[in-house]
């Protein structure tokens, strides 16, 4: 009944700035929601059968057992989730702050700092921490990951807030909604889809980058890959890399569902 209106209006421009993570708009059917989990399950099954079909030597057996892999995956998830939480806690308030009119003067400086964060290779940051400050382990990895992914979330938060129709804000202020009320009840809800797209980007980047955390003894699936590389065991490398890829796709898939659920109705 309402689909025709939604379609006709769904075409309106939603990505005002280049470089911003795109928002997915199409309405999904239940079947399309199942597609990705089934695919990922098949990839995992494939990996399992591939490993089963091989004669494993002791090095491979040590790397590829359930408890070792389980620990690595769990550590990887922790690295990803914790760093993303910090990114959200830092970047969204910062984005709100930087879009207020009174911060216009130092907006440029702070954006440059965030840009530097992303320009630096994470591996370099981690090495610097380890060599320069003897700062290693989980916390160091989190700091490196956060520095790297603040930018996409910050940028999307700012774009998301800036793309809110001026007239909607003026109508809100004109009806006597306070500044804070306009921010929390109008601006942020309307920016949610774009902010979430940024968070999703950050999550996926973090899954990939967390594989480097192994170099500063922070665990994760990087352990498996590096173990495979250093002992020249292809099966181990493929398993580690394959699981990282599956995890990245899974995280992206879950974030996509979160976007669909959290996007305000009516948009």
């Amino acid at each position: 009944m309402t689909t025709s209106t939604e379609q006709s209006l769904g075409a309106e421009a939603t990505a005002p700035e280049i470089g911003m993570a795109p928002i997915r708009r199409e309405h999904k059917t239940v079947a399309s929601y199942l597609l990705m989990p089934v695919f990922l399950a098949l990839v995992c099954l494939g990996l399992y059968l591939y490993v089963q079909s091989k004669e494993l030597d002791t090095i491979e057996q040590r790397a590829l057992n359930a408890s070792r892999l389980g620990t690595a995956v769990w550590e990887h998830v922790q690295l990803t989730v914790v760093s993303t939480i910090f990114v959200i806690l830092i970047a969204i308030p910062l984005g709100v702050f930087l879009t207020r009119p009174f911060t216009r003067r130092f907006r440029g400086v702070l954006l440059t700092v965030a840009n530097i964060g992303q320009a630096l290779p994470t591996i370099g940051v981690l090495a610097l921490f380890a060599v320069g400050f003897l700062f290693i382990g989980f916390k160091a990895a989190i700091v490196g990951l956060v520095a790297y992914t603040v930018l996409p979330v910050l940028r999307n938060t700012m774009v998301g807030l800036q793309q809110v129709d001026e007239n909607v804000l003026e109508a809100g202020r004109g009806m006597g909604i306070s500044k804070m009320g306009v921010l929390t009840r109008i601006e942020l809800p309307l920016a949610v889809p774009i902010i979430l797209a940024g968070v999703r980007t950050a999550l996926v980047i973090n899954v990939g980058t967390a594989a480097l955390a192994t170099y500063i003894n922070a665990g994760g699936l990087g352990d498996i890959i590096v173990a495979g590389l250093s002992t020249n065991r292809l099966t181990v490398q493929i398993t580690g890399a394959g699981l990282t890829a599956v995890l990245a796709l899974l995280v992206d898939y879950l974030a996509g569902i979160a976007e669909d659920v959290l996007r305000p109705k009516g948009l």
Partner: protein
Amino acid sequence: MTNIGTVDGTAGRIMIRLENLRKEYPKEPKPAVDDLTLEIPEGEIVILVGPSGCGKTTTMKMINRIIEPTSGRIIVDDKDVTHEDPDQLRRRIGYVIQQIGLFPHQTIAENIATVPKLLGWDAKRIDARIDELLETVSMSPATYRNRYPKQLSGGQRQRVGVARALSGDPAVMLMDEPFGAIDPITRDRLQNEFLRLQAEVRKTIVFVTHDIDEAIKMGDRIAILQEGSRIAQYDTPEQILTAPASDFVADFIGAGASLKRLNLSRVRDIGLTQWPTVQLGTEPSEVIETLRRSDKGAALVLDEANHPRRWVSALDLQRADGRPLDQIGLPPEAVVEPQATLNDALNELITANYSVAIVVDADGTYQGIVDIDHINEAIRGMRTVARAKARAGLAEDRDDDLLTKGTTP
């Protein structure tokens, strides 16, 4: 040069009074609003109209302090609100902007409930108010309450915008080109609807537009503004059209002021002329006699109920060959009712037989006719009256000035 727009004693209580209002922007040599004093009477639609950049929108937005004045005072409902908490002030003033600005993530009901919620009404009262307002703007609550703005057409969104502005039952409404972004047909309908609504609710409305025709149609009073929000003329549409105060006003009204003026008076306001009429069934010889006694070329045939039936000329009668009166001649065209505007009447009579419009009452009973000379005379009459009024107004203003100078504390 003074920049003062006051109203005479015939207007109601002053609802909004702007005193020496001024707005300067840094880096701009001239003030956007230059020392404006303006009185807006209760229950009227006052239009601020002028070329773009004249400061009309700035002036309006200073009333609810979306734009803060540089100096001067704003008095709303006898209360100085220049330094009041703007959020509190705005909750008492309805606000409609051209782009409407409905909250896209809220339903129509939630949009309308914005101000009542801020005012702390209870849920039941808010619910009732939403339904009432949707009915008021001719939208069925059952259908539209839970829709989102993007599911509505432009005209419907505008209606919701008006309903939302009315939700807190404000005494004052500010409207910034509310019908500007709508197609002409819908705009006309919404304007008429809005005038009907205003006749019921009697709000004090400040309405900004750049369209003089809209101003004439919607306004009880029009302030024509020049650069710096200087008042070129502040008067009723009739007065402005018939006695423009300056060349600027005359230019702004543009060509066709007299034609526009015709939209403001109605057929019932001018006396009707009579025309030779005959009853159905009258003998042809008698009809010819009637025609001979008048200087007209045709008689209007009326039936028993005095409804116009036919135009019959002497030539028609000669060729009648005994046919009855209602089967010869021409059918009556250009029939108007007394509440038709002179513009409608003129439009009808231009194309009609014998260049007259027949006036009938609501039952269709013949009342008289209007012809072009008649309309012409009416226009000239109005102009004389308006000029006399304008002169009298000037004299009065001078008296007023003396009075206020004497009594100002």
